[in-house]
Amino acid sequence: MAKEKKKQSPPPQEQRHTAGGIPVKSVYTPGDIEDLDYKRDIGDPGEYPFTRGIYSGARGVVFGQRPVLGYGLPEETNKRIKYLLQFGMASPSGMPSYNLTMDMTSAYGFDSDDPRMAQWVGVNGPPCNSIVDSEMILEGIPIEGVYHGALSYAPNWRVAHYIAIADNRNIPRSNIIGATLNDSLHGPIGEGVHLFPPRGCLRLIVDTLKFVTEEMPYFRASDVQAYSSREAGCTAAQEAAFAIADQMEVVKGCLEKGLDIDELSKHLTFFFACYSDFFEEVAKFRAARKVWAQIMRERFGAKSDKSLRMRIQVKTSASTLPAQHPLLNIFRSGAQALSAVFGGASGLNITCMDEAFSAPTEESARVALLTGKVIEHETGIANVADPLAGSYYVEALTRDMEQAIWDYIGKIDEMGGYISALERGYLQREIAAVNVKDSLDLDSGERIIVGLNKFEPEDSEVDPIEIFDQDPTPTVKEMTRRLEQLRALRDKGRVQDLLAQFREAAAGDGFLMPIMVEAAKAHCTTSEIFGTLKETLGEDKSCLIPPDWAKGA
């Protein structure tokens, strides 16, 4: 039998809030949006301030669907990509696409034969030691005509591989289409990891952006990973504000290097999460677009209207999907995806129902992808741009959300920007405080998650769904063998030359991406590249959680 907690639902008179704490009323009327001017505050879809979306008309509701994928050996990931391509994985423009994550070993810059990493090779993504692995992942998948999604941080070693592969095949670099995160500044507040000191991260981010603005016009290369900070506990307003503040830091860094704001803007995107408070999420996307448009125009002096558009890709939340009653997670993700579409997201990535158990099975990955297809083809909501516009509630909440975002940006500005706020621990403390409150609310039943603290399933020793089991042992063995072979066969003199060049450039003020591309061609390995950067930029040791995190500033 399901057990009920004693705690009652709040009496109807009590003040209600969105999940993120914005006060809401029980009914909204025209009086609630009297202060809003349609032209000034909302505008048509595709027009400043882009509250209603960045494209005019129906184009604003075409959305790509690219689930995050990858596991095991490179060839196993290749198989999973091909499997999901059959079911319509595509970019926002409808091009075949995938969204590839690496194993954490490669993501953090270690080779597969590092004994400290033996438990994690091929777990949650394929290993990527060298260009050989990238070639195997892409076997049978053309460079041209595919939108390549590489969830990699700066330094963009994986992107360097793509460029090197294109060069080797005589494909113009400018024909590579795709996106990478290139965001190592969100790691400290997201996953709790610093790859390099923040100023070093910024330098690497700017380096990639300089490269793509010069050579790869169709490659997005600053996809601020707000998703990770949200999953670390941010409210909707914090998620948007911290992401915007991060991107502002990146833009400032690029302008200091002499990049042109209107060229740069083509490469900027935002990667948001979507949680369960339906209208709060819709309001978040609408408000964030408006804030960004204003910042790009007023602070950074962008001239082209196109430069003011905040491109948003969304992954529905993983941390809202509990282990209890896991089939309900299909609905949770579907509802979150709906609010992302209502909010005008251009890319959609639906999280799999088995997130609390393991990496996705083939079935859970297919169900997640096809959930988006149901929204696209059956619900009709994709026919009209921003259909919730004009709702008294949605417009009032969008305004309140916008204010909350500006409040945070104002505070971060006062501290000197995103990096200073990070270095002071301000962002971390803000998030920790939300987490502690949330855990207390769940304990008390103030906040309900079905199956977790109400309507719990009966205790069972059996998993309610199929589990995707991964044993890294054979992967480590095979990857170690391949690495030995690679090191034996490559031109050692060329490798040493390039690593020396790379070290010199990194220690000074050199342009790194062009050297990384050559290093990729020469079969340098991940740990050689990252190791050089760790030595020259410094390894950040501050990934310990400061003990006073949750106590407020």
Binding site: M104, R116, W120, G192, A232, A323, A356, S439, S460, P547
Partner: protein, 143 residues
């Protein structure tokens, strides 16, 4: 210091919050850090990139009652096996208990318990249940 009448010295329960290898994401541990401390316990966080050896070394050095291992990437069984073996090797398995939390399927529960892991927690476990677990374990240990 006041002269006490207690027959037994009391001290705070000490808990090592541990992360192994590149298994990042610290939301769970950051909540535990605050809430366990508010419940009168002491917590120590290892930081990332730890190994079973460094975790056990820290646990012994800090003289903790529990190691809480946080795991997101599915390597909990192998890591717990190594940690338990090291605790036994150092003759401290009677006083340092291991609990594991994170992305852990039910099918692994029995295996973990069998090797001596005292608590296994799935994602979203209510924090008060973790606090109750610690208090119950301490009570049964003191008996």
């Amino acid at each position: 210091m006041m002269a006490g009448t207690a027959t037994k010295a009391t001290r705070k329960v000490r808990i090592l919050l541990a992360k192994a290898g590149p298994d990042t994401h610290v939301r769970g541990l950051s909540i535990l850090m605050s809430r366990l401390r508010d419940a009168g316990m002491e917590t120590i966080y290892t930081g990332l990139y730890q190994t079973p050896e460094s975790i056990v070394a820290a646990a012994v050095q800090e003289d903790v009652d529990f190691i809480f291992l946080s795991s997101r990437l599915g390597r909990h069984v192998a890591l717990a096996e190594e940690i338990m073996a090291l605790l036994k090797e150092k003759w401290v398995d009677d006083r340092i208990k291991l609990a594991v939390g994170g992305v852990i399927p039910k099918k692994d529960f029995a295996r973990l318990k069998k090797m001596g892991v005292t608590g296994v927690f799935q994602p979203h476990t209510l924090t008060h249940k973790v606090i109750e677990f610690v208090n119950d374990e301490i009570k049964s240990k003191d008996k």
